[in-house]
């Protein structure tokens, strides 16, 4: 679109960052719950954490970091006017998101198979600390997974707009903000991964 349109890219980016701060506080609250209960039930948390598969967690970390790279490169691509490459890179990000969710599905269903899910008989019969650990695990990875799905849909919609020529080098704030959202998803996982899969 040519001519004068009223846009405030800086304001749009500022608004996005303010939204991301509220997201940080949301996940910050979950990490705080984790820390307080870890102090109260260190042994039960250790038993719970050892039941998580750190190899799958590591693979998912690599996938998510790669998806973030693709999203960041997509921003560079659109700024350089490389529309086709932008769409391809966004496709790469979405592919990584799908891989991440597939692994998450395998992890969750294996836990469900062992009778471990919020409110399950197995957890009710066990020590309360273990039940708290898995409740927090499902809550944190669940809300994070929801963000992955939303982010993938958002970037898919943006990719269509890039392909249609609506977003280009001169008007790319929507893509920049979409990428910012995606990096936040990555950022949260950077903390979930060591806390749940590694340190216990």
């Amino acid at each position: 679109m040519s001519g004068h349109e009223h846009r405030d890219d800086y304001g749009a980016k500022l608004g996005m960052w303010l939204f991301l701060f509220t997201e940080l506080l949301l996940f910050g609250g979950l990490f705080l719950l984790y820390a307080v209960y870890l102090k109260r039930y260190p042994h039960e948390f250790a038993t719970g954490g050892k039941q998580l598969n750190w190899v799958l967690g590591s693979v998912n970390t690599v996938i998510l970091l790669t998806s973030s790279l693709a999203a960041a490169m997509a921003v560079t691509a659109i700024q350089r006017g490389e529309a086709r490459r932008t769409v391809a890179l966004l496709g790469g990000t979405i592919l990584c998101a799908a891989g991440f969710m597939a692994i998450k599905y395998v992890e969750w269903s294996s836990k469900f198979g062992h009778g471990i899910y919020p409110g399950s008989e197995h957890l009710k019969a066990g020590p309360p600390g273990e039940s708290v650990f898995f409740s927090l695990y499902f809550l944190s990875t669940g809300i994070h997974g929801l963000h992955v799905v939303i982010g993938a849909i958002l970037l898919g919609w943006i990719a269509f707009k890039v392909r249609g020529g609506e977003l280009h080098a001169g008007n790319n704030i929507l893509l920049e903000n979409g990428a910012l959202y995606w990096h936040l998803v990555d950022l949260i996982w950077i903390f979930i991964f060591p806390l749940y899969y590694l340190i216990l």
Binding site: L18, L32, K39, S58, L65, F193, P194
Partner: protein, 94 residues
């Protein structure tokens, strides 16, 4: 400040950051597989913070943003630190 000059980050720089993030991931896994006791918690969190810093600075372009966004980010971190810190004053000395 409103005259926002888009800063284009080169592909090579982005790939360099990605490689650094992969190395740091391998490092966290390595230090938590050996028994270091309490140090592994501190070590893993320190590495996670370093990774977060790289993502925010380069992938999220914070390094190239103006003062307003930087201060707001700082404010968000301070808020987070205050509510986590004060909760622990309560929890640890109850």
């Amino acid at each position: 400040m409103d005259q926002h000059q888009p800063h284009i980050v080169s592909y090579t720089r982005l790939i360099g950051i990605w490689l650094a993030l992969l190395v740091l991931t391998a490092l966290t896994v390595a230090i938590t597989r050996v028994e270091l006791g309490g140090y592994k918690v501190v070590g893993a969190l320190a590495v996670a913070c370093a990774k977060a810093g790289l993502v925010i600075a380069v992938f999220m372009h914070m390094k190239y943003e103006g003062v307003l966004l930087r201060w707001l980010l700082f404010l968000a971190f301070v808020t987070l630190a205050v509510f986590i810190g004060f909760t622990f004053f309560d929890v640890l000395y109850r």
